[in-house]
C-alpha cells in the first residue's frame, strides 16, 4: 500500500487552502510520438511536464501528483510506481550509478518524482514489443482515465479520513483541519487522434468525473479527438489544442496550473467550439446523422440489420427511414429537375388558410 501514496514525504499544511491532487494522463502512443519527434520529442515533453509538476507541488506543500501512461496496449502507472513492479528501484538503474537523490541543487521531492517517473517511462518503453506497436495505432485512454479516477477516489477517501488515526500501513496524509477536501483534477496530455472505438468507456469516465466534479483538462499536442473535447466540456475542464507545441511549457504554466479554487476567479482560456458528435456503436465512426435505439439509446450509423437493436435486441419500428435514397422516379427517366431553381417565386399563389 505504501507506494500508492504520492505525497508521503511532504508535510501536510495544517491550514490554508485545501491541497490539490493533479493526475496527469500522458498519452505515450509510440506512433504519435514518432510523428511528433521532429517538433517535440517525448523526452523534451517530459522535461516540460516535470517543470510543471514541480510548479504544482511548489504551490502548496500538501499538493499531490500522480502520472498515468496511456500506452498502446495498456495503461500504466508512471508515478507513483506500483509496488508489484518486478524490478525494484536499484535493478533498473543497473548500468548507471544510482541517482543521487540528495543532490544539493535539487529539492528532494522534485528529484524523487523525476527519478521515479523517468525510470518507469524507460521501463515501459523497453518492455514495449515491436508487435505491440505494429498491431495497434491507438492508445488506452479510457483505461488510463479509469485508473486516474480510481486513484483520485482513493486519495480523496484517504484524505478525508481524519478520524481513523491509526493507519500504519499508509503513510497517512495528515489531513488538515479544513473540511473542503482534496481538490482533484485530471490533465490529459494527448497526442493521438482517433479514439472512436473507445467512445463508450470514455464517455462513461467523463460522466463519472462530472459527477465527482473532477475537471478533465485536455492538452492536445497532435491529432484530434471529438470525445476528449466533450470530456473537458462536460467536466468544465480546459481544452487546448496547441498551435505551437514547442511552447508547451508556456501553455502548461499559464493555462493549466491554476487549480479549481483559483479557476473560480479566473477566465479559463478554453476553446469555445465543442464538437458534440457521437460515434456509432456498430463501426465506431463519428456520425452527424445517426439512429438511436429508443430503448437503450445505442447509436447506429445506419439502421441495424432487421431493425433489431444490436445492443438490446429490441425490435425497432423504423418507419420509412433509412432506405436508400431514391432520387429518380420509378420507370420514366426524367430530366426536368435540372434548372428551375431561383427563377420562379413561390409567393405567386395565395396564402391559404392552414389545414385545408
Amino acid at each position: 500500500m505504501n507506494a500508492v501514496d504520492g505525497s508521503d514525504h511532504y508535510e501536510a499544511a495544517v491550514e490554508g487552502p485545501s491541497p490539490s491532487l493533479l493526475v496527469i494522463v500522458l498519452d505515450t502512443n509510440p506512433h504519435a510520438w514518432a510523428l511528433l519527434a521532429p517538433t517535440l520529442p517525448l523526452s523534451k515533453a517530459i522535461a516540460n511536464i516535470l517543470v510543471f509538476i514541480n510548479a504544482h507541488l511548489a504551490v502548496n506543500n500538501a499538493n499531490q501528483v500522480a502520472v498515468v501512461a496511456s500506452h498502446s496496449h495498456r495503461a500504466v502507472w508512471l508515478y507513483p510506481r506500483p509496488p508489484s513492479s518486478s524490478s525494484s528501484e536499484d535493478v533498473e538503474m543497473t548500468n548507471d550509478q544510482p541517482p543521487k537523490l540528495d543532490d544539493a541543487n535539487k529539492y528532494r521531492p522534485f528529484a524523487l518524482i523525476e527519478n521515479s517517473l523517468l525510470a518507469s517511462l524507460r521501463d515501459l518503453i523497453s518492455t514495449t514489443a515491436e508487435k505491440d506497436v505494429a498491431t495497434t495505432s491507438t492508445t488506452q485512454m479510457a483505461g488510463a482515465l479509469t485508473l486516474a479516477l480510481s486513484y483520485i477516489n482513493k486519495a480523496t477517501v484517504l484524505y478525508s479520513d481524519t478520524t481513523s488515526s491509526s493507519k500504519p500501513a499508509t503513510n497517512a496524509i495528515d489531513a488538515p483541519e479544513n473540511t473542503t477536501g482534496l481538490q482533484s483534477r485530471i490533465l490529459v496530455v494527448s497526442v493521438s487522434g482517433d479514439l472512436a472505438h473507445q467512445y463508450i468507456p470514455i464517455m462513461n469516465t467523463t460522466f463519472a468525473a462530472q459527477r465527482l466534479r473532477i475537471p478533465i483538462d485536455i492538452l492536445k499536442l497532435a491529432g484530434d479527438t471529438v470525445f476528449l473535447q466533450q470530456a473537458s466540456d462536460t467536466t468544465k475542464g480546459i481544452y487546448m489544442h496547441l498551435r505551437s507545441p514547442q511552447g508547451l511549457l508556456q501553455y502548461l504554466m499559464m493555462a493549466f496550473l491554476p487549480d479549481q479554487m483559483a479557476r473560480k476567479h479566473l477566465v479559463a482560456p478554453t476553446q469555445e467550439v465543442v464538437d458534440f458528435r457521437a460515434a456509432c456503436f456498430c463501426h465506431r465512426k463519428v456520425v452527424d446523422v445517426g439512429f438511436v435505439c429508443s430503448i437503450c439509446l445505442s447509436i447506429f450509423c445506419s439502421p441495424p440489420e432487421g431493425a433489431i437493436c444490436l445492443t438490446c435486441s429490441t425490435h425497432l419500428a423504423l418507419g420509412d427511414y433509412g432506405a436508400k435514397p431514391a432520387v429518380v422516379p420509378r420507370k420514366k427517366k426524367k430530366k426536368r429537375r435540372v434548372n428551375g431553381g431561383g427563377g420562379d417565386t413561390p409567393s405567386a399563389r395565395g396564402t391559404p388558410v392552414p389545414g385545408e
Binding site: 509510440p30 504519435a32 510520438w33 514518432a34 510523428l35 519527434a37 517538433t39 517535440l40 520529442p41 517525448l42 523526452s43 523534451k44 522535461a47 516540460n48 514541480n54 548507471d96 550509478q97 523525476e114 523517468l118 524507460r122 518503453i125 515491436e130 495505432s137 487522434g193 482517433d194 472505438h197 491529432g223 496547441l242 498551435r243 505551437s244 514547442q246 511552447g247 508556456q250 499559464m254 477566465v267 479559463a268 469555445e272 456503436f281 456498430c282 463501426h283 465512426k285 444490436l310 438490446c312 420509412d320 433509412g322 432506405a323 435514397p325 431514391a326 432520387v327 429518380v328 422516379p329 420509378r330 426524367k334 429537375r337 431553381g341 413561390p346 409567393s347 391559404p352 392552414p354 389545414g355
Partner: protein, 638 residues
C-alpha cells in the same frame, strides 16, 4: 393453421407461468401452465360465462386481467386473475386479449338480445360489457394516436394560436414551400415532426381546471374609502358550493339587501374572516346581519357522505379506534387533529376542511365505470400485506445487453487520417527512436546528477531572438510567445462569451427587424431541412419529384439568407453614412475632427453569415448528399 390467428400471451396464474390463449372456436379461453402434460391443470373458461373484465390501468407497472366467471348453475361468480408477464410486451398482449374478449362478449350479447333476460344479473353484465367495449374509442386513447394528432386540424389551430412563433414558422414555411407539395402533404409533414407538442397540447387543453379556494382568490381593494371588487358569476357559484353557509345567508337576506351591498358587506364581515380561517380580532367591525351566522355550521353534510364511504378497514383509523380502546389508549392526537375548538387553529382547520370539500367535488378520473363497487384491484394490491407473500415475481422489461465488441462489424473499414499516418511508419524504427529518446544519456540524467531541467526545457537565457528564429526548438522564444498569444486569445474569446450574454449584444449590431427576419428565415429553413431528410430517407421513388422540388426550395432558402445578409449590410452602410455625416457636421461647425473607425459598427452581412453558418452548412450537406445520390444513379449534376 386456422384462418383466424390465435391470440395468446404469456401470463401467470396462481403464481405459475403459463400461456393464455383464446380457443380457435372463440367459445372459450384457456390458460395452460408451462410444461403441463396433463389437461387437468389447464384452466378453461367459457366466454359465455364471463360476466366482467377488469384490467390494471395503462400506466400501472403490472399488467393484470381479472375475469369474472359465473357459470349458469352457480350462484356466486368466480374471479380469475391473470398476470401478463411476457418479457417483451405484456401490455400489448393483454390489450389484444382484452379487446378480442370484449368483442366476443359483446357479439354474444348482441345475438342474445332478443331473448328476454331471466334475471337482472345478466343484463348488468351486458351493460358492463358494453362499457368495456366503448372505452377504447374515447378518452386518453386519442392522445397516443400519432396519425390522429397529425390530422386534428382544430387542435393544430389552437396550438398555433397559443404559440405565435410556431404560427409564424408555419405560415412562412407554407408560403415558401414548393408548389408540387400539396397543402395536406405539407401539413402532415409539418406536424409529423411535432406530434409531441401536439400531444402535450391535447392533454393540456383537455384537462379541466379544478376548484380552488375561492375566498382567498377574491381580493377586495379599498379605493377612496370604498370597497371595490370584481367577482364573477363563476366565483359566486364556487363560494356557494364551498361554503353552504354563505348560500344560506344569501338566501335569507338578499331580497332585503341588494346584491352589491350583500357582497361588499360580506367581504368586510367577521363571517368572511372566519370562513377564510383568519383570526377575528376585537377591532374588526361588526355587522349584525352577518354576525348572526358566526356560530352556524358551514357543513354541507360532507361528514355524512364520508361516513357512508366504504373505507378498507386496514386504513380506517376510526375502525382501529374501536379495537385499541378508542381515545382512552395510545398517544393523544395532535392538537390540530382533535375535534371541536375550531377557534384554536382556524387556518389549519379551514384549509383542511376546504381541501376535503374540494376533493369531494372532483369526480375521480381514474375510476373505470365498469369496476364493481368497493375496493378496486389497485387498492387491493396497495393494501395487501406483501411482505408475507414471499418474493414478488420480477416484473420489468429485460434489457439483454450484448457484448459490444462482438458487433465490431469491420473495424478497419474506416481509417482515420491519423491512423493512415501511423500505418506508414515502421514499428521497429518507431520503437528504436523512442528508446534512444528516453535513453538516460540523451536526456542527461545518466550522469547520476539527475536531470538538468533548465537545459532540458530548452530555454536559453542568453540567446537573442535573432538566432532563435533560425533554429526553432522546444522552448524557443518564438514558440513561447505564440503560445502566450493563443492562450490570451482563448481568454479573450471566453471573456466575450461571459460578458456578451445581454440582450443587446446578442443582436450583434443587427436591428431588431432584421434579426426577427433572420429568426424566421432560420426557422423555415430548418423546417424544410426536416422535410428534405424525411423524403430523402424514405427511399420512396414516387416522391423523387417532390424531393427535387425540396432541393430547389433549399436553394431558395439559401437565397433568402443571402437577401437578409444583403439588407443587413445595407443597414450597416446607412449607419456608417449617418455617422460620417454627423462627423462632417461637427467638423463644419466646430472645426474639430472626430476620430472614428467605421469598423467599430457591428452588424452587417458578416454577422448574418456568422449566425447562419450552421444552417448554411446543413443546407450544403443536404445538397451534397442529394447530388451524391444523383451521381450514384448516373445523372450528371453539373
Amino acid at each position: 393453421m386456422a384462418p383466424v390467428p390465435t391470440i395468446q400471451g404469456a401470463a401467470g396464474y396462481k403464481k405459475k407461468d403459463g400461456t393464455f390463449s383464446i380457443a380457435q372456436d372463440q367459445k372459450s379461453i384457456q390458460w395452460q401452465p408451462v410444461g403441463a402434460r396433463d389437461a387437468e391443470k389447464v384452466v378453461t373458461i367459457a366466454v359465455a360465462n364471463i360476466t366482467n373484465l377488469q384490467q390494471t390501468p395503462e400506466a400501472a407497472a403490472k399488467v393484470m386481467l381479472k375475469i369474472f366467471e359465473k357459470p349458469p348453475d352457480a350462484s356466486e361468480s368466480v374471479t380469475h386473475l391473470f398476470h401478463f408477464n411476457s418479457p417483451s410486451n405484456p401490455r400489448g398482449e393483454a390489450n389484444a386479449i382484452k379487446d378480442a374478449l370484449t368483442n366476443l362478449i359483446s357479439a354474444l350479447k348482441a345475438n342474445d338480445a332478443n331473448t328476454p333476460k331471466a334475471n337482472g344479473a345478466t343484463s348488468a353484465a351486458m351493460a358492463i360489457a358494453s362499457a368495456v367495449t366503448s372505452k377504447p374509442t374515447s378518452g386518453p386513447a386519442r392522445w397516443y394516436d400519432d396519425a390522429g394528432l397529425k390530422t386534428d386540424i382544430e387542435l393544430q389551430q389552437s396550438l398555433m394560436k397559443k404559440d405565435p412563433a410556431l404560427h409564424r414558422t408555419y405560415m412562412e414555411a407554407r408560403r415558401t414551400k414548393p408548389d408540387i407539395i400539396s397543402d395536406s402533404q405539407f401539413n402532415s409533414q409539418f406536424w409529423s415532426t411535432r406530434t409531441n407538442i401536439l400531444r402535450a397540447h391535447a392533454v393540456e387543453s383537455h384537462q379541466k381546471r379544478g376548484a380552488y379556494n375561492v375566498l382567498s382568490a377574491v381580493k377586495p381593494r379599498q379605493v377612496d374609502g370604498e370597497l371595490k371588487m370584481n367577482i364573477s358569476a363563476e366565483q359566486v357559484q364556487l363560494i356557494f358550493s364551498q361554503h353552504p353557509l354563505v348560500k344560506r345567508v344569501y338566501d335569507e337576506n338578499v331580497p332585503k339587501l341588494n346584491e352589491m351591498e350583500f357582497w361588499s358587506r360580506f367581504f368586510l364581515s367577521r363571517l368572511f374572516k372566519k370562513l377564510k380561517g383568519e383570526r377575528i380580532v376585537e377591532t374588526d367591525g361588526t355587522d349584525p346581519t352577518f354576525d348572526r351566522y358566526l356560530d352556524a355550521s358551514n357543513d354541507s353534510g360532507l361528514d355524512q357522505r364520508l361516513l357512508g364511504l366504504h373505507i378498507p378497514n386496514i386504513i380506517d383509523l376510526e375502525g382501529n379506534e374501536e379495537n385499541q380502546g378508542g381515545s382512552r389508549g395510545g398517544n393523544r392526537a395532535d392538537f390540530t387533529m382533535r375535534p371541536g375548538s375550531a377557534a384554536k387553529v382556524p387556518i389549519v382547520r379551514t384549509l383542511n376542511s376546504l381541501s376535503e370539500k374540494i376533493m369531494a367535488h372532483v369526480a375521480p378520473s381514474d375510476v373505470d365505470p365498469a369496476d364493481p363497487i368497493g375496493m378496486d384491484e389497485e387498492t387491493f394490491n396497495a393494501l395487501a400485506l406483501k411482505d408475507l407473500q414471499g418474493d414478488a415475481a420480477e416484473n420489468r422489461i429485460m434489457l439483454n445487453i450484448k457484448e459490444q465488441s462482438q458487433f465490431f462489424a469491420n473495424e478497419k473499414s474506416a481509417v482515420s487520417a491519423e491512423a493512415a499516418l501511423y500505418a506508414k511508419q515502421v514499428p521497429s524504427e518507431v520503437l528504436a527512436g523512442l528508446r534512444s529518446d528516453v535513453n538516460p544519456m540523451s536526456i542527461g540524467n545518466g550522469t547520476g546528477r539527475g536531470l538538468d531541467l533548465s537545459s532540458a526545457i530548452g530555454v536559453l537565457e542568453e540567446s537573442d531572438s535573432e538566432d532563435e528564429r533560425k533554429t526553432a526548438h522546444v522552448g524557443s522564444k518564438a514558440s513561447l510567445v505564440d503560445a502566450q498569444k493563443q492562450i490570451l486569445e482563448g481568454v479573450k474569446a471566453r471573456r466575450l462569451e461571459i460578458d456578451g450574454s445581454s440582450a443587446q449584444t446578442s443582436l450583434a449590431g443587427l436591428s431588431q427587424k432584421i434579426f426577427d427576419r433572420l429568426t424566421l428565415t432560420h426557422a423555415t429553413t430548418t423546417e424544410f431541412l426536416h422535410h428534405f431528410w424525411t423524403i430523402f430517407l424514405s427511399g420512396d421513388p414516387d416522391r423523387a419529384g417532390e424531393l427535387a422540388k425540396m432541393v430547389e426550395t433549399l436553394e431558395r432558402a439559401m437565397d433568402r439568407i443571402n437577401a437578409v445578409a444583403a439588407d443587413a449590410e445595407k443597414e450597416r452602410d446607412q449607419v456608417i453614412a449617418r455617422t460620417k455625416q454627423d462627423i462632417l457636421d461637427i467638423y463644419q461647425r466646430t472645426q474639430k475632427k472626430t476620430k472614428w473607425d467605421p469598423k467599430s459598427v457591428a452588424g452587417g452581412e458578416k454577422v448574418v453569415k456568422e449566425m447562419m453558418e450552421p444552417t448554411t452548412r446543413a443546407i450544403q450537406k443536404a445538397m451534397k448528399e442529394y447530388k451524391k445520390a444523383l451521381a450514384a444513379e448516373g445523372i450528371d449534376t453539373s
